[in-house]
Subunit: 189 residues, 2 copies
Amino acid sequence: MIDYILMGFLRYAPMTGYDLKQAIDTSTSHFWHAHHSQIYTTLRQMEKDGLVTSQFIQQVGQPNRRLYVLTEAGQRALQDWLEQPLMELPAIKEDLLVRLFFSAARDPHKVIEELRLQRQLHVQKLAVLHHTASVVIPEEHAKIPPEARDPIFWQATVSMGIKFQEMYIQWIDETIRVIEGSAMDPERK
Amino acid sequence: MIDYILMGFLRYAPMTGYDLKQAIDTSTSHFWHAHHSQIYTTLRQMEKDGLVTSQFIQQVGQPNRRLYVLTEAGQRALQDWLEQPLMELPAIKEDLLVRLFFSAARDPHKVIEELRLQRQLHVQKLAVLHHTASVVIPEEHAKIPPEARDPIFWQATVSMGIKFQEMYIQWIDETIRVIEGSAMDPERK
DNA sequence: CTGAACATGTAATTAGTTACATGATTTC
DNA sequence: GAAATCATGTAACTAATTACATGTTCAG
């Protein structure tokens, strides 16, 4: 999957691994992230496969850079992948739900504490997403032809992120109430 | 993570790999799934680590079974893990959002088609979750002491699943409208 | 007679994470 | 003087997926 993300970004402009890492961190990371180690190794593999070419750029003062350019084959590979619709529901992995599922044996106060901590993180994430929607995307929009449809799709992904975080916060509040109401009755304490 | 899930289920009763696979498929799979190959190999590893013990049960007619029992060490490992709260937001991986993010270059009709297909899958999943909440969990509840708090936590995870699917469906509808409204203007066709 | 359910495994591969490794420049 | 930014890589490891492999019983 990370290979398609890299190709997707390289379609906008040639970039280095470092640039790609930053592009991911400030945009797709809320639905797909990658460590720099994976990015660099994947780019090398993609070069072997003819999907990208690279040129080494010597710099003074600054570290050298390796600039990657998407090839025709790379563009085709990306387009082919996009053409092929997703036919199943991708699996979800939610650590907190695993923990909660087996939390009956835990001290309910500790469970609620954990939920509150997670809640805080979701609130923070929500703020980041609002910032992405109102600042980052408009900024990026300014760098590409104004008639490009891309920002519509970028906003759609952020919109999902926002809805998800809002839903999550709401669910945590509700879950805390349920635990407080039914698992902490006085005779149990 | 799968090791903790296996321990979590083994706390209820000794089970075979096959049983565990089924338990996962009918309960945690909407937030964490595993293939049988991973389950069997993980159980073997856990046995080496002293978290479980197994006994081979010879059967006639039916294939033989290997029954796993959680050890004291296994119980402690699970409890320790549950005690240690989750401090970060786990990363999300959403294939559809990756595809959508880079979909500006696609035929918008094809994008909408894909969204509609996904919508259908989410509707189906939602039905499964409603069934889990109203049938599967009450059934499982009947098998354990009625005062056990477990079903409350099971329901909480299903509640998240339901909220998630509802949110997703709503977002797809909204996204289709956005694409129809702004990316399919007549002069472009 | 076909397919599902029961039941367990191994092998090969891919994907992803964590740790190791370096080093200059700029900002506080 | 410390921390952040720029910049790229390798190595080791863990997790997860896909494919290979086998064989009986029971229901439709």
